[in-house]
Symmetry: C2
Subunit: 330 residues, 2 copies
DNA sequence: ATGAAAGCGCTAACAT
DNA sequence: ATGTTAGCGCTTTCAT
């Protein structure tokens, strides 16, 4: 069953059927109805491959995630899908597992027109490469744009987030404030580190590099282990900022294990507001990113590029929210 | 840059280039090398759409998940991808959000040959429909096959899992054992309920329907709320089996809030061994499914169907593992 | 071993 | 308003 069969059944040409399918207004009302009826009756769906070959477009976009096993991305993808669906686009989600080879393989889908655009949430490639890709193909980065690359992106103000959280700690009287972070997702990490240091400096607290941990890979285990190191310091922290809820949970897990009262003896704040934070005991304070909105916005940025590859790059910053729960006491 | 350009550069016909690309042995060694060199030099990738149109195959498969926001599926998808990649297939992951309309829309990708097969992890459709789809297209179900549908599937022995866990509770002296489950993922729920009842019966413990909760949607909140109901019973349970880690966490959260010592006063066991179970306090005992293997096996089943749609349906059962942690004391 | 050519299903330029 | 037709890039049959 193809467009030719439908044309035969209708007694019209394939061109007319194609016009009906593509909502071309230059078709007589009567003809249109006849064709639509036959399409309906035969449950006909136009062959996407034929159309794609002809138009060299796919009506698909690629979403590249570092991993599927981070709940953080699920709401983002839902946001993207909601928008893409409205525009008649399908979303293909892949994970790169932080492997450059895999990332390159998936990017070939752009070159070979298997997808019309790509939203990336963490790239291993250089800023030069990303800038070039972005010049040639609809390509947008979310959450972790490549530092200094010329590309449209949507993020939250990571600097301000850490600045605010750190300030809040200082205002509740903390003087020894640690920051559990990583050295991988450069963009957010650098911004957050800046915010952390600015808050300290502004309050006249001497930055202590022992309290800035950049060696984690964002696993529970890392949170525990690095928290242990921190607590063994001569002058351990009384408050811990973290770059992810998993790190916060790891840290809290360790603190509980040594009898420290979290939210009382030591305050801890996570990042991302994953669903578990509300149900952990103690419940975990955290910094929430507008995940669905991040998805929606990244699609909007991509669509601009799909419609006009020369559209200027935009850098969009969405608001975050600090959520106070038991792990920061009071 | 297409196959014609390559042919031109090589001074051969497009047919020969196509043969080289497709590893047809009937090409002279010398010709092959020349062509390969030119392909390499020009960084040429054959247009997938052209090939798909011609062969009416896509070398893509569809993985349908109820949701992205359940970590449970991430390792499964990794297993599928690992296998599919070896066979030269791409994996497209979509979520149906438990919407029948969406599921049908995605199934159209089979009919329209956008994908060569589908692995489904929960369907809203009737067993008749699933059986028919499975007869016509490569289609496999994992974890939650449609009850009584004629389709290849891979699962764990859910009955035995609950039977064993319940038995273990009985052997540690529990007599009031609740089961927090749902009424949605029929397949696993029914099997588990059977195992639960069998264990009770076999041990001469009267089944009490107050202790079988089937109203959850597997959310933290449901676990908390239903646990509260249970504990308010005249004769509350001393042990709680659950159908997911989220339910276990919700329940434990509530128990802690009312001062009950989990793993001592009341034992709780989860299901799926999600990563948080190890880092919750108390750490949570759970029933682990071999997630990666579930993915691998579901691919293998699908591939049999892709190669031969008439291949007989297989029902594969993989082993589970009960992991004891602090939430079940001792 | 290689080439010529048909045709997969569709769209769009051109003709009527 | 509708039809005719070329051609997107590829594979594959049939010749040679």
């Amino acid at each position: 069953m193809n467009i030719k069969d439908i044309a035969g059944l209708c007694g019209v040409s394939v061109a007319t059927v194609s016009r009906v399918i593509n909502r071309d207004p230059k078709v007589a009302e009567k003809t249109r109805n006849k064709v639509l009826k036959v399409i309906e009756d035969n449950n006909f769906i136009p062959n996407v491959t034929g159309r794609n070959l002809r138009t060299s477009r796919s009506n698909k976009i690629l979403v590249m995630l570092p991993t599927f096993s981070n709940q953080f991305y699920s709401a983002i993808v839902e946001g993207i899908e909601a928008q893409a669906d409205k525009a008649g686009y399908q979303v293909v989600v892949v994970m790169t597992m932080l492997e450059e080879m895999l990332e390159r393989k998936y990017l070939d889908m752009l070159r070979t027109k298997q997808v019309d655009g790509c939203i990336n949430f963490f790239s291993m490639l250089s800023k030069e490469e990303i800038s070039e890709i972005s010049r040639e193909y609809p390509y947008v980065q979310g959450c972790e744009p490549t530092v200094n690359a010329q590309v449209s992106s949507v993020v939250i103000d990571n600097r301000l987030a850490l600045y605010s959280a750190c300030k809040a700690f200082i205002e509740s009287g903390h003087k020894r404030i640690a920051f559990l972070s990583g050295d991988y997702y450069k963009y957010s990490e650098q911004s957050r580190e800046r915010g952390y240091k600015e808050a300290l400096e502004e309050s006249g607290i001497q930055f202590d590099e022992q309290l800035l941990v950049k060696s984690t890979m964002y696993k529970f285990k890392d949170g525990s282990k690095e928290c242990e190191e921190l607590m063994k310091l001569e002058n351990p922290p009384t408050a811990i900022l973290t770059a992810s809820d998993s790190l916060a949970i790891g840290a809290i897990n360790y603190l509980i294990s040594i009898g420290v009262k979290v939210g009382k003896d030591v305050d801890v704040i996570g990042f991302d507001n994953s669903s578990i934070t509300k149900y952990y005991v103690p419940s975990i304070s955290t910094i929430a990113q507008p995940r669905f909105e991040l998805g929606v916005t990244s699609w909007d940025l991509l669509y601009e590029k799909i419609e006009n590859i020369k559209a200027p790059n935009k850098k969009i910053i969405l608001p975050f929210e600090i959520i106070h729960r038991d792990s920061t006491g009071n």
